[in-house]
């Protein structure tokens, strides 16, 4: 394929995902029609839509690392994680009702890293990440897919911003010094019932390993993580489907807790967008 044709393809597929999100209507996997879609093209699609959101005033506040557990990697037949962008519009705080337009949401317990300094360069190690981390926060990631029934291949999820929905951060900030983040236990509850437990080691053996992978990957793509960026390091357990009205909480023991309520179904993307009057292409 020529560069122009490739460009046209990524634009078409980016538009398809954009519309799926705006209209609240999941679409068939991109890879169903384009089985040869590469990781690189998929990231181009992701970045196109992130850029589009930025032109509407949104802002990148960090990244999420996905596919950090062996079961997830095996499910998609890959040997490394992927990443997505976190936008200001996706961010919630503890105690809030999440009114983000969600299609088929699932929740995960994660540790969020907040950087004190830029994390640049190749061969970034776990130690580099710890040295660059201001603190960690307990987090709930609400993952979502614009692909119908979550029938995703690797390229589908990458193009779809690594199946991001939104995220909520707790208020307890803990410096990483003297903490074994691999050992930290986490508990995910939905409506008061424990649905998953896990420990930091579920994330590539150590959550900072995911952040190191991200730093190295971004560097190879010509980008750098900046001081203040938030990084969701990856789920410590399997994701759990949720519905409007569900109360979700994550507890990381002494590292704190975070809780949210999934909002009632709203006028889906389209009406919301029309009400705002500025987002539809």
């Amino acid at each position: 394929m020529s560069d122009a044709k490739l460009d046209a393809l990524t634009e078409t597929l980016a538009d398809a995902l954009w519309e799926a999100e705006q209209y609240g209507r999941p679409i068939a996997p991109l890879t169903a029609e384009h089985p040869d879609l590469t990781q690189e093209q998929a990231y181009q699609i992701q970045i196109r839509n992130i850029e589009r959101k930025r032109t509407y005033g949104d802002e990148v506040v960090g990244y999420k690392v996905g596919l950090t557990s062996r079961p997830m990697q095996e499910m998609l037949g890959v040997h490394q994680p992927d990443f997505g962008h976190l936008l200001r519009s996706m961010r919630y705080g503890t105690g809030q009702v999440v009114d983000f337009p969600l299609l088929q949401p699932r929740v995960e317990a994660e540790l969020a890293f907040v950087l004190r300094s830029d994390l640049d360069g190749r061969d970034v190690t776990v130690q580099d990440v710890l040295a660059a981390t201001e603190y960690v926060l307990p987090a709930i990631e609400i993952i979502d897919s614009r692909i119908a029934d979550w029938r995703i291949q690797l390229a589908d999820t990458i193009a779809d911003n690594a199946s991001s929905g939104c995220f909520a951060l707790g208020d307890t900030a803990t410096p990483v010094t003297g903490r074994n983040l691999a050992g930290v236990g986490g508990v995910l509850r939905v409506n008061g019932e424990i649905v998953q437990t896990g420990a930091g080691a579920a994330v590539l053996g150590h959550p900072a390993q995911a952040v190191a992978w991200l730093a190295n990957t971004l560097t190879s793509l010509g980008t750098t993580m900046r001081a203040g960026d938030v990084v969701l390091s990856g789920a410590i357990s399997a994701a759990v489907p949720v519905r409007p009205g569900d109360r979700v909480s994550v507890s990381f023991g002494r590292l704190g807790r975070v809780n949210i309520t999934i909002g009632e179904p709203q006028a889906a993307g389209l009406a919301r967008v029309e009400a705002k009057g500025d987002v539809l292409p």
Binding site: G186, V187, G200
Partner: protein, 257 residues
Amino acid sequence: MDLRAIAEEVWRHQVDATEMQKLTERYPGLTVADAYEIQRLNTDRALSQGDVLAGWKMGLTSRAKQVSVGVEEPIYGRLFRSQELTDGELSLAGLIHPRVEPELAFVFKHRLAGPQVTARDVWLATECVMPAVEIIDSRYRDFSFTLVDVIADNASFARFWLADQAYSPYHCAWDEVGVAVRQNGEVKQTGAGAAVLGHPVRAVVQLARMLAQVGQAVEPGMVVLTGGITEAIHLHRGDEVVVDFDGLGELRLNIRD
């Protein structure tokens, strides 16, 4: 129904490490009470042959497992001294399709019994808490069973091993302890103590109350395995399994013939 004959059959399969058909397929009228009676009959048999009752184990302590078997409460089984490992060398001899799961063990200094036992009573009676692993092994074909079957089969108990280091019951919040299970270097399972009924102490409370109904108790010196913190993982010859309890140390198992 001749519970003694059924108990004899279960015992045979436990001793010979051979798979059996589900009891409930052949004796559809078998009740939970019958199943516990079968378990008790086989305990008498073990004790008469010189074994010692080392304590109790709790099973079906996670909501997910209770749902999968269709019950609302956990089950219990008996721990025997002859099945306690003293080091991390686990022989597959005498096992059918063993799995391992990480647990917290409570060791008792005072008797604990009664229908009204609370968490407070458990703490007062507890000498120490120890990281532990339990090897479970169902005598049923394909590890497939109903509630009644698994109770009759001593709640799938096979072996147990406690860490060398013991901790005061007030050492930490046991529901927050993170646990990672590595098999041959790869993280296979992670969990936190809360996976056990929200807090492992609740498993002991439930046990004491269930035992009270049948005139039994947790006696001084006994061990209680409170229930799996993660899903159990399959064991194979040559495996090295390392179970890491956050800040409490690790247990390292080597699986051999």
